[in-house]
């Protein structure tokens, strides 16, 4: 796959051309965006549609552990959970991937070998992204060498907010190259970008630079994925495909804890970009506690009685 669409060759020719393009994107109607995201959140999804949504959401989860205290044992336990989220009900689908730090990628790869569950590794000095390009690239190569199928990189928010778009662009290009065959998810950390206009600009910047996925957040700051910023990014991938024919995935991450929230995001996907994205190849949830809530809801649907946290695994 070409990492750059010819249509944008002139846009990325210089810092000023890139700035002109990004600042030329239409401004975001913040009130309208939030109202739209809010109104789509009021849809009532029940019975068979709910059962479908719950299974789809489970299959879209990047089951994540990104803690300083991660141990190989914890990663293996998480991998086991990703493979078989509910051991009491074998019809439960596996999650899409397990997401870990790059030094844990090898452990995760070994635990998931041959299962179809992917290993995603964060890289590029996650979560702050404050390191030299050489360090970021070494981090990425480490993760790929360990066998990661997907790389979750963070952009340099400092450079982005300072207006050095070309620097951000070139960094994403370089990481994309270092990632090789691994799919690249680009994290914007929307909670640090201040405005919806910036999120739209970051989305286009990431997609032009060759992102396979655009992702809201690291989960390490106060504001993470919200329905509004995810809707905005969905609109960006829709418009990008209309313009270039290239489909890019979206991954909201952080702060999605309940089944109800997850279903709201799926409604956003279906209403904004359509069924093409309703697949774990194109839409993911970055989450850890969400899975347990989905499993409890699933148990409620299959047994008719409310489940409790004693009946799902603790991670």
């Amino acid at each position: 796959m070409p990492t750059i669409t010819p249509a944008f060759a002139d846009v990325t020719a210089s810092d000023s051309a890139l700035r002109r393009f990004l600042h030329g994107l239409p401004g975001v109607d913040a009130v309208g965006l939030e109202a739209r995201a809010g109104s789509l959140g009021t849809r009532s999804i029940k019975t068979t549609a709910k059962a479908y949504a719950i299974d789809l959401a489970i299959s879209m989860i990047d089951l994540t552990t990104l803690e300083g205290a991660d141990t190989p044992g914890k990663v293996r336990a998480l991998a086991a959970k990703a493979l078989r989220p509910d051991p009491t009900d074998r019809t439960t689908p596996a999650t899409a991937a397990v997401c870990v730090y790059s030094d844990m990628a090898e452990t995760a790869v070994a635990a998931l070998a041959g299962s179809g569950v992917k290993v995603a590794s964060v890289a590029t000095a996650f979560p702050a992204g404050r390191a030299s390009l050489a360090v970021k690239l070494a981090d990425t190569r480490d993760a790929v060498a360990a066998g990661a199928d997907e790389i979750d990189m963070v952009i340099d928010r400092g450079a982005f907010l300072a207006g050095h778009y070309l620097k951000v662009y070139e960094e994403i290009r370089a990481v994309k190259e270092a990632a090789g065959a691994a799919r690249l998810k680009v994290i914007f950390e929307t909670g640090e970008l201040s405005t919806y206009d910036n999120i739209r600009r970051a989305s286009w910047l990431g997609m032009i630079a060759g992102a396979d996925f655009i992702k809201t957040s690291t989960g390490k700051v106060g504001v993470n994925a919200t329905p509004a910023n995810t809707l905005l990014m969905l609109e960006a991938v829709r418009d990008f495909r209309a313009q270039t024919g290239v489909q890019v995935g979206v991954k909201p991450a952080g702060g999605i804890r309940t089944s109800k929230d997850a279903v709201k995001f799926l409604v956003l996907v279906n209403e904004t970009v359509g069924a093409d994205w309703l697949d774990s190849h194109w839409f993911r949830f970055g989450a850890s506690s969400l899975l347990n809530d989905l499993l409890m809801q699933r148990q409620k649907l299959s047994t008719g009685r409310y489940s409790g946290p004693d009946y799902v695994t603790v991670d």
């Binding site: 008719g304 009685r305 409310y306 409790g308 946290p309 004693d310 009946y311």
Partner: protein, 298 residues
Amino acid sequence: MSTVDATRLSVFKTYKLYVGGKFPRSESGRVYEVTDSKGAWLAHAPLSSRKDARDAVVSARKAFGGWSGATAYNRGQVLYRIAEMLEGRRGQFVREVAEAEGLPKAKAAAAVDAAIDRWVWYAGWTDKIAQVVGGANPVAGPFFNLSTPEPTGVVTVLAPQDSSFLGLVSVLAPVIATGNTAVVVASERLPLPALSLGEVLATSDLPGGVVNVLSGRTAEIAAPLAAHQDVNGIDLTGADAVLAKELEIAAADSLKRVLRPHATDWRSDPGTRRLTAFLETKTVWHPTGSLGASGSSY
């Protein structure tokens, strides 16, 4: 009531549920008519659905860690505070009980006084029950062997159907005195004193979620609560024989502790039976070693 100004419109009270320290309406938006003993309209009470029950369990579970971890002394103070707050609103409860149960003023006042005294009585028990039902067990070995009671967890309480306030307090107070958190289903026909009690609990230093009060059809709310996997015990006092049997069967699946209904005169001395119904005994073994020259193992 005799001095009411004829030109003033009276303000009707909207009775609401008490869940998680807040006063929501039923999630279903439903209400039902509550009448006095002669059939005259008193108020509309929320007609709770199974989703209200689910939300109440979530609140009770969230509150359990803090409440069961609080010192027994602190729990006693909070329960005593409930009695203090009730004393200040005695008139309101006497009126509500008299209307609901069709009692003369004096009898209703006696019931409310007994209920207030019962809070004080159970307040005293919070830091004494462990000595009564726990203790050191003699064992054949160099060990301290200590048994202590611990709260069961989230307990569903079906309040008695005929005693709207004294009966309610008599089943609720012992459950929370020992550190459990409660989801109470008020008497179906006489729910108003229970809903007003929520307002008292909210101003008594009782953490939100420790007691959650639901009103509505007992059978409708109790069924999902009995089957709920995250409820640890159920007091079936307010269920008739047929319903109690059904609920006990539903509760068996998750090994809930069940307190079966039995005829009770709520005015009589309650004893410790209800206090111990929702307690689990934990026993620890600790090696004593031999410390003293005298051969004492302490």
